[in-house]
């Protein structure tokens, strides 16, 4: 009973992650792409918090690798940052998922800051361009969008 439920939701987890990946990478006008949040990271954070066994560390790593390959960044950069984030989210899921949405958004803000900081540091260590302030814009926006992500993804699996 529980096992079959887990298998179904694993499909759900990967499908939502795939959709989020496509939505994250869809090309858009300059200003919008500046403001566009990294939906894939939010989705991975959501599943790591709400269903830590289903997605697990593998989801974080694969999602990060997909961002690396499709975004053309250094191979392993996003994979590392997103693995770190997934680990923390799974580790702290009992703490965070009982919190009200606002407090969860604060956690997400910190997580996204850490994520972008890790990418930024790796860029710096490996001699790539570290970019301007523009790369940080998605962090607060992603945090603000967290309740929406919870609303949408929560609707997909809560009835079960």
């Amino acid at each position: 009973m529980i096992l079959s439920g887990t298998r179904e939701s694993r499909l759900l987890v990967y499908i939502t992650a795939l959709i989020a990946l496509v939505l994250t990478l869809v090309p858009m006008p300059q200003l919008l792409s500046l403001l566009w949040p990294n939906l894939l990271v939010l989705t991975v954070l959501y599943w790591s918090t709400m269903a830590p066994l289903t997605g697990g560390m593998l989801l974080g790593f694969v999602a990060g690798l997909a961002l690396d390959v499709l975004g053309g960044s250094q191979l392993g950069q996003h994979a590392f940052a997103l693995s770190l984030l997934t680990y923390l989210a799974i580790r702290l899921h009992l703490l965070t998922r009982a919190k009200p949405l606002f407090e969860q958004s604060m956690f997400v803000l910190i997580a996204l800051l850490l994520y972008e900081f890790t990418l930024w540091a790796i860029d710096g260590f490996s001699g790539n361009r570290t970019g301007s302030w523009a790369r940080w814009v998605h962090v607060p926006i992603g945090a603000m969008l967290w309740p929406v992500v919870v609303g949408i993804l929560g609707r997909l699996h809560s009835p079960r």
Binding site: G5, Q30, A51, L70, T86, R129, G154, S158, R160
Partner: protein, 358 residues
Amino acid sequence: MAFAGGGMNTPSARDTAPGGRFIFFALLSLVLMYFDQRDGWGAKVRYVLQAVAYPIQVTVGSPGRLINATSEMLRTRASLREENEALQTRDRELELRTQRFEALERENEQLRGLAAGSLPPLVTKSVLVDAIQAELTANRQRLVVNKGDSDGLFRSQSVVDGKGLVGQLVRVGPWSAEVMLISDPAASVYVEIVRNGITTVAEGTGDPASLLLPQLPTTADVKEGDLVVTSGLGGVFPAGIPVGEVFEIERDPDELLATVRVRPRANLDRSHRLLALWFDATNPAAPWRPEMLDSLPPASIADPVTREAPASKQAGPSAEPARRKPAPQAGPHPPAARPAEPAPEKPAQAPEPVEPVQ
């Protein structure tokens, strides 16, 4: 309400302990990063992953193409006829220009002391590629195109549109390839000002509408409207492909160098159809890096590096000018002079063909 869903698999604390896996994935990421930097089998891993990612790439690019296709379908007969007329006019103009160009080419051959018709065409082959994804941010100016290794595309290949230079291929997957636009902050192109032959370097700024010529002194003879073409010095691009026009010059008397900006001729942010080019090695204007040339089998992604690494250590920088200038009397280089093996006289450019070092 969403949090109720958490109950579906609440694991015990021991089950969730992801520490071991995290360490595994983190180490894996670090190894990937290490090898990707060094371009060894990291490139091969990426090649395989790019093949896996191809469907997603196509999906990501599809909304834009859907919009294009829809707007194309909704076009009226009148506007099509109008466009047809405009194209025909342009066709006539181009034909006239080609005739003039052929005469010039013959004249050029005579001046070089070559027999008529002995100068081969520069471009031997071109493949039309479609951009399926674009990343035009201040840090990266890249396009992903819908052809790759399977169509013979190779790394560092020149890509142009109808008006001028667009960029070069930096990563080639099986069915897709990534173009680094000349406006990418990491891109630099050896260029020449047509009016007076001054050679310099054009660097990308992250803005598709503006390149920078950062190495011209304040006293340099540059004017607004000067046409800038590739000089062929880097060995990656052929000589004489239009890059853009100078549109802004700032001369600060306190500074040694002027700030000269060039507007690219190619529609870097709007071109969807591009051409990847192959060159005839015997034409003096062709790029001289062996991996750029037509006669060699298309290099797989790791090849240029393995071929290049030993060669660049051997030769000194002094080798470059001698190799660069084709002696007019000697005629075209015999094809045998381009070995597939590392040539000892190969000039020591940057080992990475992507970023020509000044």
